[in-house]
């Protein structure tokens, strides 16, 4: 049952990820990306990480992608602008590399024994409490670093976007 859902949602995310690449229309691609992120959120849910799943939906599908859509709509990128870029050669190389990588991953990780993956999940696993304890305990420094990183990125973006001083 779990497995069936896993295959469904991972298939969904992979398929829509492919659509992200192959859609000519930027907006359709962005929507496909929303589906991908949603699929990933469902995978988190299947792994009992409900908080993470909700976070994924809220932050990515809800906020980040809306900003993506905003930018696409504001710039009004149509099909024409994109068709000019033709990367047939690079595309073929990319496909070959991707397929090789996929084969590699599938063959190497298929035989990987389960002990790594089947951890003993406590009752608390995936709850806000345990995630919070992790974030403000073991992962405190990365967490704070992220906040500085985001602050700096915001200020930098404003610096770049501001009109030059006359």
């Amino acid at each position: 049952m779990q497995l069936a859902f896993f295959y469904f949602f991972s298939g969904l995310s992979i398929l829509s990820a492919l659509f992200v690449i192959f859609f000519r229309n930027t907006l359709s691609a962005a929507i496909a990306l929303v589906v991908t992120l949603f699929g990933v959120a469902c995978l988190f849910g299947l792994l009992e990480a409900h908080f993470l799943a909700a976070m994924q939906v809220l932050v990515y599908a809800g906020a980040v992608m809306v900003l993506f859509l905003f930018v696409i709509m504001l710039m009004n990128l149509g099909r024409e602008e994109l068709l000019k870029i033709k990367l047939a050669f690079l595309g073929i190389i990319g496909v070959i590399t991707g397929v090789c990588l996929a084969i590699l991953l599938v063959t190497r990780f298929m035989g990987l024994s389960a002990p790594l993956l089947s951890l003993d999940l406590g009752v608390e696993y995936g709850t806000v409490k345990s995630v919070g304890k992790l974030l403000f305990g073991e992962y405190l420094i990365p967490f704070e670093l992220t906040s500085i990183l985001l602050l700096v990125a915001i200020i930098g973006a404003i610096t770049l976007a501001r009109k030059p001083q006359s």
Partner: protein
């Protein structure tokens, strides 16, 4: 839930071959559909009628009063009519996205009802991240609205869609902060535990828990009005400028989906405020013990009524507001969110935390 499953498995041979979690899942889907069909859809329909009648009263008109006594079947007639109408898709529209958008809006709104409680036992799923899930899932609506605005290939639709998205994304912050204040008080994200942390009487409600909570309540109320595109924040569909905003090009059933979303959202706003601030379905303990002697059904019925009445009061306030206040401008809307509600939200949630720390220190002092 376990009782139902064991009952079903015990009485039906074929079910025994199925894995148990599949039965759970199927039951949840069925329960969800039941909630939709038995509650949300009629509610949205009836509230559309109620709103039109109230609007008529405010404007000194009569309103719909022909179908059935006092016109209370008007919504059924409207529903049937829109089902029969032609589904027009503009030739220049992006047809796939155009078709998809209303469903997305609808799904986002409906999925939120999964965690909305009706009584201490009547809830589709009491997730431990309940209120957070609700915030997350309703944000899918934004994507749908933007899609509809874009796919219509109409400048009014596009403008409406973008306004709506900007509004919803911005107001999620003050709403989240106000909710945070409640979550800090109750120590849980599950809506049922938040309700359980309150009591039946007004002084036990979170609304009057401390002096900051009424502020949190009001800012949550304003923010949810804005998130639901309700007046005075209905600029995405400001008919004087944008015809009908993102739903301009829609007709028939797809159009109804958008309105369905709006009215369902009305209940959602009211239910969230009720659950978080107004004590939810809590009854005085005397009533609870009396009702338990008469059976669980009565208890749940009473709890449902308590919850529903509180929610309905909120709904009526929102409807009254719609016909009382003028529409704000875009810049006013953004200024209200970023310059007033967000700082207030921070003061409310952080201020309470600081107060709590102070309290904790006092406790430590007394222990030592």
């Amino acid at each position: 839930m376990e009782k139902i499953v064991s009952y079903l498995v015990g009485h039906c041979e074929k079910l025994q071959h199925l894995p148990e979690d599949f039965i759970y899942l199927a039951l949840q889907v069925v329960a969800g559909l039941l909630v939709l069909m038995l509650f949300v859809a009629p509610f949205a329909g009836i509230i559309s009628f109620v709103e039109r009648r109230i609007a008529a009263r405010v404007m000194d008109r009569v309103g719909p009063n022909r179908v059935g006594p006092q016109g209370i079947f008007q919504w059924l007639a409207d529903g049937v009519k829109s089902l029969l109408k032609e589904d027009i898709i503009p030739a220049q529209a992006d047809s796939v996205l155009f078709r998809l958008a209303p469903y997305l809006v609808f799904v986002g709104m409906f999925a939120a009802f999964v965690v909305v409680p009706f009584s201490s036992g009547l809830i589709v799923a009491d997730l431990n991240i309940g209120i957070f899930y609700l915030i997350a899932v309703t944000s899918i609506v934004v994507v749908g609205i933007m899609m509809s605005g874009w796919a219509s290939n109409n400048k009014y639709s596009l403008l409406g869609g973008m306004r709506s998205a900007a509004q919803i994304v911005s107001y999620e912050i003050p709403a989240g902060l106000s909710i945070l204040a409640v979550v800090i008080l109750s120590g849980s994200l599950s809506i049922q535990s938040i309700i359980k942390a309150q009591g039946a009487y007004p002084w036990q409600w979170f609304l009057f828990q401390n002096p900051l909570m009424p502020i949190a309540f009001i800012s949550l109320f304003i923010a949810s009005l804005a998130e639901g595109n309700r007046t005075p924040f209905d600029i995405p569909e400001a008919e004087s400028e944008l015809v009908s905003g993102y739903s301009t090009e829609y007709s028939g059933m797809r159009f109804v989906f958008f309105y369905f979303e709006e009215w369902a959202n009305l209940y959602l706003i009211a239910a969230v405020s009720t659950a978080l601030f107004l004590g939810g379905w809590n009854l005085p303990s005397a009533v609870v013990s009396w009702a338990q002697t008469k059976g669980d059904v009565l208890l749940h019925l009473l709890q449902f009524l308590t919850f529903f009445i509180k929610a309905m009061v909120m709904v009526f306030i929102i409807i009254q507001l719609r016909w009382t206040l003028p529409r704000v401008r875009v810049d006013q809307l953004m200024a209200l969110c970023w310059k007033y509600l967000t700082p207030i939200g921070f003061v409310v949630s952080l201020g309470w935390q600081l107060g709590w720390l102070y309290f904790l220190r006092e406790c430590l002092w007394s222990v030592m």
